[in-house]
C-alpha cells in the first residue's frame, strides 16, 4: 500500500486525540495559513492540486470554491458527513479515527472562501460521532484554534454540528441544505446553485469529508506532493470501501488509478471460498453492474476510466458480487433501498422506484412472468432522464444493466 495520507491514523495510534494530532504537526498548517497566507492562495493551491470531490460527482474542488460571488455575504461551508450510499463506509472511519485532519481541512476551506460559520452535517446514525465532535469543537475553541480573531488576525470561524435523522437523500447537497434549515430533505430546484444561494440563501461550499481531509496535506506538503499519487486527471489517493463477497472487506487508501484487480485480489484477498467473481458495483447501490471480465479487472479506478466502463466511480464503494449471487436478488435489494429512500418530490422517482420494487418483489417471490422482466427494465428506462435529482437516476442503473447482462438470473426466478 502506498503512503497513507487520509488513513494516517492506522500508522499513528491515538490520532483522534487532540494532543496526539498536535504532536504530529496538526493545526500548524492552519495557523500558518491564517496568519501568513491570503485566502485566494489557498484556493489557487487547491485548484492547482486538481483535487476532485470525493463525495460522488468528482467535481474539481478548487473550481467549485471559486464560484462563490464576492459581493454576497456571509459565505458558508458545509461538510457533507451524511455517508449513506450502500457500500460506503470511508467517511465514518475518518470521523472516528482521524477527525482532526478533516476538521483542519474544513477550517482551511472556510478560510479560503472567508466563511465565518461552517456546519458539519452528520447522518442521524452518527449521533455518537456527532456528540464527540461537539466536545472536540468545544476544545478547539477553548484552545484558540476556533473562535473569534484567530491567532490575532481579524478572521473568525465557528464550526457547528447538525445531526440528520435517517434519510439517504440528505447526502444530496441541496436536500442537505433543506435539512439543516429544518425542513424535509427534498432537493432544491437549480439554479440557483448553492455556490450562489445555498445555506440560508447565501453562497455555500459543500464538500465531502474525505475531500476536506485532503486539504491539510495539500497545504502542508504542496501541490506536487499531492499530485505524486494518482493520475493526471484524477490526482491523489482515494479511500476505496471494498465490500460484498470478498475475503477482506474494508477501507483501502490507494492512488486513484489502481486497478480493480489489485484492490480485489491483493487487498481484498480475493473472493470468499475462492469463488468466481461475477460483477462489480463500483459506486455502491447507485452503480451500473459491470460484468467482471479480465479487461474490467485491469481497468484503473479513476474517474474517467470507470465512467468509460459505464458506471461513475462515485464515492468508490466497490461492491463485489460472485457466482453465488443472483442478480435478481441484488436488484431486489437496490430497488428496496431506493423506494425506501425516494424523497417523493418528483413523480418518476416516487412512483418509479415503487413500481420497480413491486415488480422485482413479484419476480423474486417466484410469481413473475417473462414479461415482468421486460416491464421492470422498461419502467427503469421510463424514469431515466426525467427525475428531479440524481437519486431517481441512480435507482435505475443496476436494474437496467442487471437485466441487460444477467437476464438468466431473473429468468431462473420466474414461475415455472
Amino acid at each position: 500500500m502506498s503512503e497513507l495520507i487520509l488513513l494516517r491514523h492506522r500508522d499513528i495510534a491515538g490520532l483522534n486525540q487532540l494532543k496526539t494530532y498536535i504532536a504530529n504537526g496538526g493545526f500548524e498548517t492552519w495557523k500558518k495559513v491564517v496568519t501568513s497566507r491570503k485566502p485566494e492562495e489557498v484556493l489557487n493551491d487547491v485548484k492547482a492540486s486538481g483535487l476532485r470531490g470525493r463525495g460522488g460527482a468528482g467535481f474539481p474542488t478548487g473550481v467549485k470554491w471559486s464560484f462563490l460571488p464576492n459581493n454576497i455575504w456571509p459565505h458558508y461551508v458545509v461538510a457533507n458527513s451524511d455517508e449513506s450510499e450502500p457500500g460506503t463506509f470511508k467517511d465514518r472511519e475518518l470521523l472516528e479515527f482521524n477527525p482532526y485532519q478533516f476538521i483542519e481541512g474544513l477550517m482551511l476551506t472556510s478560510y479560503a472562501v472567508q466563511a465565518n460559520d461552517a456546519y458539519i452535517y452528520f447522518r442521524g446514525e452518527f449521533s455518537q460521532i456527532a456528540k464527540k465532535f461537539e466536545e472536540r469543537l468545544a476544545e478547539l475553541t477553548a484552545k484558540g484554534y476556533l473562535g473569534d480573531a484567530l491567532f490575532g488576525t481579524k478572521y473568525s470561524l465557528r464550526i457547528h454540528t447538525h445531526l440528520g435523522a435517517g434519510a439517504y437523500i440528505c447526502g444530496e447537497e441541496t436536500a442537505l441544505l433543506e435539512s439543516i434549515e429544518g425542513r424535509l430533505g427534498q432537493p432544491r430546484l437549480r439554479p440557483p446553485f448553492p455556490a450562489v444561494a445555498g445555506l440560508f440563501d447565501k453562497p455555500t461550499v459543500i464538500n465531502n469529508v474525505e475531500t476536506l481531509a485532503n486539504i491539510p496535506y495539500i497545504m502542508e506538503k504542496g501541490v506536487d506532493a499531492f499530485r505524486k499519487n494518482g493520475t493526471e486527471k484524477s490526482p491523489g489517493t482515494k479511500i476505496f470501501s471494498l465490500s460484498g463477497r470478498v475475503k477482506k472487506p474494508g477501507n483501502y487508501e490507494l492512488p486513484l488509478g489502481t486497478t480493480f484487480r489489485e484492490l480485489i485480489y491483493k487487498y481484498g484477498e480475493g473472493i470468499i471460498n475462492d469463488a468466481q467473481i461475477k460483477a462489480i458495483m463500483p459506486a455502491g447501490a447507485s452503480s451500473t453492474l459491470i460484468t467482471a471480465t479480465d479487461a474490467v479487472l485491469d481497468t484503473p479506478m479513476d474517474y474517467e476510466a470507470t465512467t468509460a466502463l459505464g458506471s461513475p466511480l462515485g464515492s468508490a464503494s466497490v461492491m463485489i458480487l460472485d457466482e453465488t449471487t443472483n442478480i435478481s436478488h441484488v436488484i431486489n435489494e437496490t430497488t428496496h433501498f431506493f423506494s425506501h429512500e425516494s424523497c417523493g418530490k418528483c413523480t418518476p422517482c416516487r412512483e418509479g422506484t415503487f413500481w420497480m420494487r413491486h415488480i422485482s418483489d413479484r419476480i423474486e417471490s417466484g410469481k413473475g412472468k417473462k414479461e415482468d422482466i421486460d416491464l421492470l427494465k422498461s419502467v427503469a428506462g421510463q424514469m431515466q432522464n426525467k427525475c428531479f435529482c440524481a437519486l431517481g437516476e441512480f435507482s435505475t442503473m443496476a436494474v437496467v444493466s442487471g437485466i441487460q447482462h444477467f437476464r438468466a438470473d431473473f429468468e431462473a426466478r420466474l414461475e415455472s
Binding site: 425516494s342 424523497c343 417523493g344 418528483c346 413523480t347 426525467k386
Partner: protein
Amino acid sequence: MEKRVNLTIDGRAVSVPAGMNIVDAAKTVGITIPVFCHHPKLKPVGMCRLCLVDIGRPQVDRATGAAVLNEDGTPKIAFGPKLETACTTPVSEGMVVWGATEKVMAARKDILEFLLTSHPLDCPVCDKGGECPLQNQTMEFGSADSRFLLDEKSHAKKHFSLGELITLDRERCIQCARCVRFEDQIAGDPVIGFYNRGRKLEIATYSEPGFDSIFSGNTTDICPVGALTTNDFRFGARAWEMKHKPSVCNQCPVGCNITYDVRREAKSNGKTVIKRIMPRQNEEVNEIWICDKGRFTYAYAESPERLTQPLVRKNDELVPVSWDEALQTASEKLQAAGKSVYALVSGRLSLEDLYAVKTLTNQVKGKISLYANMGGGEWVTRVGMTPGSDLSKLEKGSTILVFGSDLHEEAPIWWLRVKQAAERGVTLVNASARKTRLDLFASFNLTYAYGEEEKAVRELFEASSDAAKAVSGAANLVVFMGSDGMGQAQTTALAGLIAEGLVKTSHFGKPNNGLIPVWQTANEQGAYELGILPDETMADGISATMALYVAGADPAAENPTLREAMQKAGCIIVQDLFLTETAKMADVVLPTQAIMERDGTMVSGERRAQKFGAAVPAARNTKADFEITSVLLEKLGGEKLPANAEELYTLLAKKESNFKTVSFKALSETHEQSPLMGRNEVYYGGTGYANDFGLGVTLPLVTGENGMPRKTLMPDVVKPTRNQRLALPVTHLYDQSKAVHASLLKDRIANTLSLHPEDAEALKAENGALVTLKFGNAEYEQKVTVSSDQPKGTLLVTRNCGLPVWQPEAVEIVVNTPTTERGAL
C-alpha cells in the same frame, strides 16, 4: 420598456417579457404545455415533471463568444441530452422549444402512467370528475391501458376530514404540493404539509382545529385531482350538472367576485339551490381567491327561520297578512308620519335599495340615516381610492399603512394583498393596539394604547420617525383604516385626521393613493357615495318619529339606547330576512330577499362599484328591498321606480353625481386577465371561474368645497371605575352572525370575550371561565378567552356576539365559575 425575449415554440415565433417561464410563454400564443404542480400564482417547483419539453439554445463559441452558425447562416441550436421542465425554465433569446415531438409526447405519457399507478380509478364517484386535469390530461396524452396490475394498487386512507371544512382523500393525491405551497406562500399559514416520504408521502395537518386556515377552501380549487374537496360540496353534485351564476360576495367590504354554482334538484323539492361558491377571477380585487367565510356562508338563505310572510301587529301581536295589506298598512303609517318619517338603512343593502329609501324619505321630506358602527365614509368619497388603483400594482418605494385593523379577520383578501405587497417590497406600517397576523410582514409595527389613536395618527403624519418618513415620503400611500376598539364617533374623527394627513402629504386624488375604510358591511361605502350619512342624534330622531322605517339593520339587538328610543317611536316598519329583535318590535314586518336571490350593485371599500346577480329563485313570498320601497313610494304619491335593478341603477346613475360617469354597461365590462384561468384545459389554474360578468368600475372622487365633510373631535374614551374594565369592540371573521351560524364554520366561531393573562389572573378567571358582564342595567353571561395578544387592562368583545359593545364601554366583570382549586392540596 420591459425587456422582451424572442424565441420559437413548436416553430412559432414568440415574444414575451424576460423572466417568463416557457409554460406561460407558450400560453400567450395558445400553445398548451400540460402542468400539474405548476400554478401561475405559486413559485415554480418542477416536481411533477409533466411539462418536460425539448429545449435548444443557440450555440456560442466559448473562445470568441460569437454565435455558432449552420452552413446556411442560421444559428446553430444545441439541444441538451435531457428534456427540461418548461415550468421552471425561463425563456432566453433565440431559444427553440419543442413541446409536441414524439420524445416529448412519450415523456408525458410516461409521467401520466406513473401517476396513475398510484391513483385510484374512482372517477365515477369523485367530486372532481368533469373538471379534473388528471382526467383531462389522461384523455389527451395518456395511454389507454396500464401495464400496472390494477388490483395491486396500493391503498391509502380514503376521504376523511381535515377539520370541519375540508376532506382529504389520500389515495387520490398526486403529491403536487399545490395545497401545501398555497398555504405557505399565499395564505402565510403553513398548516398542511407532507408526512412521510417517497410514495408514502401524504398530506397531513397538525393544526388545532384541523386545517385551520381561513383560506382553506382555495386549496380545493387548485388541487388538480379530487384529493381535497370541501365538506360542504362533497357528493353535492357533478360539475357538469351545475349552472354558474356570477356575483359578488357581501360578507365584508372587499367585494370578492364569486360564482354561485347552482342546480335544480329533486331532493330540494325541485328547487334550484346553491351547491357551492367558487371564486371568479378579478385580479384587481380578489385575484382567484376567496376566503372561507365567503365560500361557506350561503346556507343562511335557505334557513327555515326566513320570513316568508308579511306580518302586521294586531292586538299587540304580529300576525301574517297578505302583501297588499302589509304594504297598505305601512304606507298609511308613513303617510301619517309625513315629515317625521325616520329611515334607518345599512351597508347590507344594495345601491338600488338605498336609493329607493332615499327617494321615499325625500318624498315625505323625512330623514334617512345610515346605521353603522364605524364612520368616516364622507371623507373616503374625497380621499379614497380613485380609478386606476390596484393594490397588486404597488411596488417598492410605496407604503401601506394599516391603522387599527386586524385585516386577517376583518377583510381576509385585503390581508392577502397587503401581505403580498409587503413581500414585493412595499413598506408596510402596521399601527395597532394589539398583536395581529400582519405583524410578521410589516416593516414597522407601531403599538399605541387604545384611546390614543389620535396621537398615533398625528405622529405618523407629523413626526420624523422612520415610520413617519415612510408614510409621508411614500411614492404612493394607501391607508387602511379599521375600527379596532373604536366606535362610530372615534372612527369618524379618525377618518378626518387621516384625510387631513393624506391631503397634507399629497397622497390622494391619484391611483393607488388614499384611504380604504375597513367597513363592517359590504356596501357601507355605497351609502356614503349616495350621500346617506350616519346621524349623531339618531336616538333623538328615533324617539321623536311617528314612523321608523328600518331596512337591513337590527339596532334593537345591538344598541340598548336605540332600543329604548325605539320604544318611543310612533310605529316601526322593518324589512329583513329574519324576525330580528328589531322586527319583533315592529308594527309591520316585510320579508326581503337575500343577495343570491336578486340583482343589484354595491361599492366596495376600494370604491369599486360592482354588480351582483341572482343565482337562485327568491324565497317564497319575499321581495327585494328596493321593490318593497318602490311600492310604498308609489302609494305615497311618489314616482314609479323601475322594476329591475339594472334600470334602477341607470336612473340612480343619472341622478346621483358620484355615479354620473359609471354606466351599468361599464360595470359589465371585462378584459383579458393574467394569468388566464383554464378550467378544463390542460393548463390548469384551478376550478375558479374566468370573469365574463364584469370587473366593476372605481368611482371618481368627489372634489370641490361643496359639501365638505365636517371635522369632528376624537372623543375621550370612557374611564372605567375601580371595579370596571374598559370593554372594546373588535371584529372577528367567524362571529355569531346568522350566516356563520348556518354554515360549517359555526364550530370555529371565535372567542367572544378576551382578557390579558394578568387581568385574568387578577380576576381568577381561567381560559374558558364563565363570566357575567354588567353594564348599564343589563347583564350578559359569556365565556372568556385568555390572550396575551392584547394589552393589559382591556377586555376585548367581539362584535356580533350578542353583547351590545359597539364602542368603548366601561363594564364590570364577575366571574361565575371560579378557578378550580388547582394545586391547593
